[in-house]
C-alpha cells in the first residue's frame, strides 16, 4: 500500500549550503497543496560547513512534532548520508548524489541524482558556465524537485512556490532554477523512480486558510499587535531572529535598539517602559543571566517589562543552537532577594502568539517583570497553523491614570504617590512626562523616596508580594494551564513548554491503551497550586516530561504543592523530543520500574 500525505522528509548538508531554504521550499510546496507540516532545524554553532539538517514532517492532519524515523532522506553530500541513513524506514527513499558511491542493504528505494549533469546542462542553457561553482547552490532546488517528483506531485506546485521564493534581488535566478527543477522531474520520471516510490502526495482541495511560520516570527508579529513599540536586544542565538524580524519591519514603528550588552538591553527596556510604552527585550540563557540584577530593579519599582527568553542548551555558552528547557528554575528566582514576577511558558508556536499579547497585559496589569519562557524548539521550528482569531484578543493596560484622574488625586491627596499601598498591591501608575514621581532601587516609601524605616519596609515589601496573590485570584484558568485528553485519567502527563507538541501528537494513540491526559502548565510563577493540585489528585500516576536534567517542573511541583511526581521523563542531549520517543517513554514510564526515563534520540 502506498503511503499518501503522511511521512517525514529530511534534508541535510553543510551549514550555509542552502539546507534551510530547501526545507522551506519543500514545506511550502506541501503546504500549498493542503497538507500540514512540522519542520525542525538542527544546526551547529557555526556559520559555514558544519552538518545541519532539517526534517519536515508532512501530514493531512494538524501536526505538532517531528519524528526520528525518516521516510525520505535527501542529501547531496556524504556526511548526511552517513549520519542519517540508519533512520530511514523500510520502503523509504534515499536521494543522493550519483557521484557518491552509496549502497544500503534492505528494502529501500535508492535514488542517485546526477546533480552535476543537471547543473551543467542548466548552466549551458542559461549561458552561465563561468558561474558553475556558484550554481552549485541549485543542488537544493534539485533535491526538492527530485523529492516532489518521487511523490508524484504535479510540477506546477513547485513552480508556483519557486516563483514566490525567487523575488526581488533573486528574481533573476528564477528561470534557471525552474529549468533545473524540471530537468530533475524528467530525470526521475524517465528512470521510473516515481513508479518505484512508495510515497505520494495527494493534494487536498479547499483547505481552510492557513499560515506557515516559526516561533520567532510569530512572536514578533504578536509583539506588534500587542503594541510593543520598544525592543532592545543584544545579538544571541536563537533569540535575535525575533529582533531582526522587528527591525526588518520598520513600517510598524517598533523602535528596535541593538544595545552594547544584555544589561543595557534590559535597562533600556525598563527605562522605556517608564514612559508608558510597552517595552520588551529578547534573549537566551547567557543574556538572561546578565539580566538578573535589573529584574530586581523592575520588581521593586513595579515596572512592566517583558523578557523573552528563548532557552537553549546550557549552562554557560552550552549548546548555543540546540534545545533545552533548562532555565525554569533560574527564571523563577533570578536576582537576589524577592520581588514579584510572572513566568509564563508557551507550548508551541501558536500559543506564543496569544501568550505574547497576554504577557504584555500581565506586565501592565500587575506592574512587574514578566519572563516569557520560550525555547529553541519553538523558536526555530516551522509549522502550518490556522489563522487566529483577532477578535478575542484584548489589550489590558491595568491601573493607568489619565490626566484628569491624576489631577483629581493630587487635589484630593495633596500629591501623587507612585507606590501607594493598596489592598491588591497594585498602585495606580503614571508615566514619565505626566507628573512627578520617584523611583529607586532602594527600599522606598509611597512617594518613591529611599526609606530605611523598618515598618515601611515590612509594609512595602508585603504590598509588592501581595500582587502574586492578586494574580492568582484574577488570572483566567486558560492562562494558568491546559488540560488535554480526558478530564480525569489514570495517568497524567505533566509538562511545560515545547514538550506539548510531541505529547499531544501521541495522546490519542496512547488513550487506546491507557487512560491518559496531559496537563500543560503555562503559568509557572505565581504557581496555580490550587488548580493543579485538584487536577492531579484525580490521577493515580503522575509522569512529568521535560527537556532538562533534573526535572525542574517536577521539583517545582513538589515545592509548590507537595506532590511527588511518580516518573520523570527527561532529556538533555540538545535535541527536542520526537514523537516516537515520547510514545515509548510514556509506555516505559507506565511499565518500567525506573523513576527516571532518560531519552536520547536525535543527531
Amino acid at each position: 500500500m502506498k503511503v499518501a500525505n503522511n511521512f517525514t522528509w529530511l534534508i541535510g548538508g553543510p551549514q550555509g549550503s542552502g539546507v534551510d531554504s530547501s526545507a522551506n521550499t519543500f514545506a511550502k510546496t506541501c503546504a500549498s497543496v493542503g497538507l500540514f507540516i512540522y519542520g525542525k532545524r538542527e544546526y551547529h554553532s557555526n556559520i559555514k560547513g558544519a552538518h545541519s539538517y532539517y526534517p519536515i514532517r508532512i501530514s493531512d492532519k494538524f501536526i505538532r512534532s517531528h519524528t526520528d524515523n525518516i521516510d525520505i532522506l535527501v542529501s547531496f553530500e556524504k556526511e548526511t548520508l552517513l549520519l542519517h541513513h540508519e533512520n530511514v524506514v523500510q520502503k523509504g527513499i534515499i536521494i543522493f548524489d550519483k557521484d557518491i558511491a552509496f549502497n544500503k542493504e534492505g528494502d529501500y528505494l535508492l535514488v542517485p541524482i546526477p546533480f552535476n549533469d543537471i547543473i551543467k546542462e542548466a548552466a549551458i542553457k542559461f549561458d552561465k558556465e563561468k558561474d558553475y561553482s556558484k550554481l552549485q547552490i541549485m543542488r537544493n532546488v534539485i533535491s526538492v524537485a527530485a523529492s516532489l517528483a518521487l511523490l508524484k506531485l504535479d510540477f506546477k506546485h513547485l513552480e508556483k512556490v519557486l516563483q514566490s521564493v525567487f523575488t526581488g534581488r533573486r528574481a533573476k535566478l528564477l528561470d534557471i532554477n525552474i529549468f533545473s527543477a524540471s530537468l530533475t522531474y524528467e530525470y526521475i520520471k524517465s528512470n521510473s523512480f516515481d513508479q518505484k516510490s512508495n510515497y505520494e502526495i495527494i493534494p487536498i482541495e479547499n483547505q481552510k486558510e492557513r499560515i506557515i511560520t516559526s516561533g520567532t516570527t510569530f512572536t514578533g508579529i504578536a509583539k506588534i499587535l500587542a503594541g510593543c513599540r520598544f525592543q532592545s536586544y543584544y545579538p544571541i542565538t536563537p533569540a535575535s531572529d525575533e529582533s531582526e524580524y522587528l527591525e526588518a519591519h520598520p513600517e510598524h514603528e517598533v523602535l528596535v535598539i541593538q544595545a552594547e550588552d544584555e544589561i543595557a538591553a534590559i535597562t533600556m527596556a525598563i527605562g522605556a517602559a517608564l514612559t508608558g510604552v510597552r517595552a520588551a527585550t529578547s534573549t537566551s540563557g547567557p543574556g538572561l543571566s546578565l539580566m538578573a540584577e535589573s529584574q530586581g530593579w523592575a520588581g521593586i519599582n513595579e515596572v512592566p517589562v517583558v523578557i523573552f527568553n528563548y532557552q537553549r542548551g546550557g549552562p554557560s555558552t552550552g549548546l548555543p543552537t540546540r534545545h533545552e528547557q533548562g532555565d525554569l528554575e533560574f527564571s523563577l528566582y533570578a536576582g537576589h532577594s524577592e520581588f514579584p514576577r510572572i513566568v509564563i511558558a508557551p507550548g508551541d508556536i501558536e500559543e506564543s502568539f496569544y501568550l505574547t499579547i497576554e504577557a504584555f497585559n500581565l506586565a501592565d496589569k500587575y506592574q512587574l517583570p514578566v519572563i516569557f519562557l520560550s525555547d529553541k524548539s519553538i523558536a526555530n521550528s516551522i509549522q502550518t497553523l490556522y489563522p487566529f482569531d483577532i477578535d478575542n484578543i484584548k489589550i489590558e493596560r491595568g491601573k493607568i491614570l489619565s490626566e484628569d484622574q491624576l489631577k483629581e488625586i493630587i487635589e484630593k491627596e495633596g500629591r501623587y504617590k507612585r507606590f501607594k499601598i493598596t489592598d491588591d498591591g497594585i498602585s495606580p501608575r503614571i508615566f514619565i512626562g505626566q507628573g512627578i514621581f520617584w523611583n529607586t532601587g532602594d527600599e522606598h516609601d509611597e512617594l518613591g523616596h529611599i526609606s530605611e524605616e523598618s515598618n515601611n519596609r515590612t509594609k512595602m515589601f508585603e504590598k509588592r508580594m501581595k500582587k502574586m496573590e492578586t494574580i492568582l485570584k484574577e488570572v483566567d484558568n486558560s492562562l494558568k494551564y491546559r488540560l488535554y485528553g480526558p478530564q480525569e485519567a489514570e495517568y497524567t502527563i505533566i509538562g511545560w513548554g515545547s514538550v506539548k507538541g510531541p505529547v499531544l501528537d501521541n495522546l490519542e494513540e496512547l488513550n487506546k491503551y491507557y487512560s491518559i491526559n496531559f496537563l500543560q502548565i503555562i503559568l509557572l510563577k505565581p504557581f496555580p497550586s490550587q488548580e493543579v493540585l485538584e487536577i492531579l489528585s484525580n490521577s493515580k500516576t503522575i509522569i512529568s516530561i521535560e527537556m532538562n536534567y533534573s526535572g525542574q517542573l517536577a521539583n517545582l511541583l513538589r515545592k509548590e504543592i507537595g506532590i511527588e511526581v511518580n516518573k520523570r521523563i527527561l532529556k538533555w542531549n540538545g535535541r527536542p523530543f520526537s514523537k516516537e520517543e515520547v510514545f515509548k517513554a510514556i509506555i516505559d514510564a507506565i511499565n518500567l520500574d525506573t523513576k527516571r526515563i532518560v531519552c536520547n534520540s536525535g543527531i
Binding site: K28, A31, S32, S164, E209, R210, I211, I212, F218, I221, I224, L225, A226, G227, R229, F230, S232, H249, P250, H252, E253, L255, I257, A259, E260, D261, I263, A264, A265, T267, M268, A269, G271, A272, A273, L274, T275, G276, V277, R278, A279, W297, I357, T384, P387, I393, K394, I395, R397, F431, I432, G433, I436, F437, W438, N439, G441, D442, H449, I450
Partner: protein, 313 residues
C-alpha cells in the same frame, strides 16, 4: 507657570556630609533649571548609585534612581521612548567610569540628546572611600590603606574619542560656572558630558576645596578655558581637518593636570543625533510612548501585511 529655586526643592532630607561638593552641584543644577524655565513635567533626572545617585530625591521633578553603572542605558531607553523629555543623567565617577564604562563608551556611538553629569570625587563615596577610576596612580587618600595601584582614566579624552559631542569639565564650588555649563549642555543637541570636580571631604583629603582653589605660581589652580580664549567648537562638522584639530587640542587640554587645571567646554560639535538618524530609518519622527495600539481594549494595529507574508498559497 514660571518656577523658582524653592519650587525645585523636595522636603526629602539631604544626607550628604557637611562640606560635600555635591551641594554645589545640586544648587547649580537647580539654578540652571530655573534659568531654563523648562516644562518641569517633561524633565527627568536619572541617576546611578552612590552619594551622587541620591540627587534626584532632592529635586522636585521626576527622578529615576537606577542601578550602579546603568543610568546611561536607563536614560537612553527613556529618551528614545519619549524624545519630548529632557533627560539629565547623574553618575559618580565609580559609577560611570568604573562599572558603567561599557555603557559610557558605547553611548558615544549613539549621540542621543542626553546630558551626563559625573560627580568626580576620586573615590567610591558611598562605599567608604575606595579608589575610583579617576584617582591617579600612587595617590593615597585618607580612606585607603595603601596607595592607589591603578592609573586614572582620562574621562574627557575617552568621551571625545568615543563620540560625545559636548565635553566639558566644571567644579562643584564654582556654582556660577557650573550652572552655565549645565545650561549649555542641556541646550546642546546631542550627548553631553560634564565631568565635575567634586571635593569629598570625608574620604578624599587630596582633592579638597583648598587644593582646587589654591593659588599656585600666582594664579588659581583651576582656570577657565574661556578666559584663555580657548575655542572648543567645531564650526563646520563636515570639515575633517577642523574636527581633527579641535579633537587634538581638546585631548591635550584634557591631559593638563597639576598646578593648572582647566575647566570649561573642551569640545563641541553639532552632529546628527541618534534621534535624527532614526528619522532616516523610520521615515518619520517616532515617539513610541505616544503610540496608539488599542481602541477600547482591542488591538488597533493592522498587521495584515505581516500575515500576508506567512500565508500559504
Amino acid at each position: 507657570m514660571s518656577y523658582k529655586l524653592a519650587d525645585l526643592k523636595t522636603d526629602y532630607n539631604i544626607d550628604w556630609c557637611p562640606g560635600c561638593g555635591d551641594f554645589g552641584i545640586l544648587n547649580s543644577l537647580m539654578s540652571a533649571l530655573v534659568d531654563l524655565q523648562l516644562d518641569l513635567k517633561k524633565v527627568v533626572l536619572v541617576s546611578g548609585i552612590g552619594c551622587s545617585g541620591k540627587t534626584p530625591h532632592f529635586v522636585n521633578i521626576t527622578g529615576i534612581h537606577t542601578l550602579h553603572g546603568r543610568d546611561i542605558p536607563f536614560a537612553t531607553g527613556i529618551k528614545l521612548a519619549n524624545p519630548e523629555l529632557t533627560v539629565i543623567d547623574i553618575g559618580g565617577d565609580g559609577n560611570t567610569y568604573g562599572i558603567g564604562a561599557g555603557h559610557f563608551l558605547n553611548a558615544g556611538r549613539r549621540n542621543i540628546d542626553i546630558t551626563v553629569l559625573v560627580f568626580n570625587n576620586g573615590v567610591y563615596g558611598l562605599t567608604k572611600g575606595q579608589a575610583s577610576p579617576t584617582l591617579k596612580l600612587g595617590m593615597k587618600t585618607k580612606s585607603l590603606p595603601l596607595p592607589n595601584i591603578n592609573q586614572a582614566i582620562n574621562s574627557l579624552s575617552v568621551a571625545i574619542v568615543s563620540g560625545y559631542t559636548f565635553v566639558a569639565r566644571s567644579y562643584a564650588y564654582d556654582v556660577k560656572h557650573l550652572k552655565q555649563i549645565i545650561k549649555k549642555a542641556i541646550l546642546h543637541k546631542g550627548l553631553s558630558l560634564i565631568d565635575i570636580l567634586q571635593p569629598c571631604p570625608s574620604y578624599n583629603d587630596i582633592h579638597t576645596k583648598e587644593y582646587f582653589e589654591q593659588v599656585v605660581n600666582n594664579s588659581k589652580r583651576i582656570y577657565k578655558l574661556e578666559d584663555e580664549g580657548y575655542d572648543p567648537e567645531v564650526k563646520d562638522p563636515n570639515n575633517h581637518q577642523e574636527i581633527q584639530e579641535k579633537i587634538v587640542k581638546a585631548i591635550l587640554k584634557s591631559q593638563e593636570w597639576g598646578d593648572k587645571i582647566p575647566i570649561g567646554v573642551f569640545y563641541k560639535i553639532n552632529l546628527p543625533t541618534f534621534e535624527e538618524r532614526l528619522i532616516d530609518r523610520y521615515g518619520k519622527k517616532l515617539n513610541p510612548s505616544k503610540s496608539i495600539f488599542e481602541i477600547n481594549n482591542k488591538p488597533s494595529t493592522n498587521i495584515s501585511n505581516l500575515i500576508e507574508e506567512i500565508k500559504i498559497r
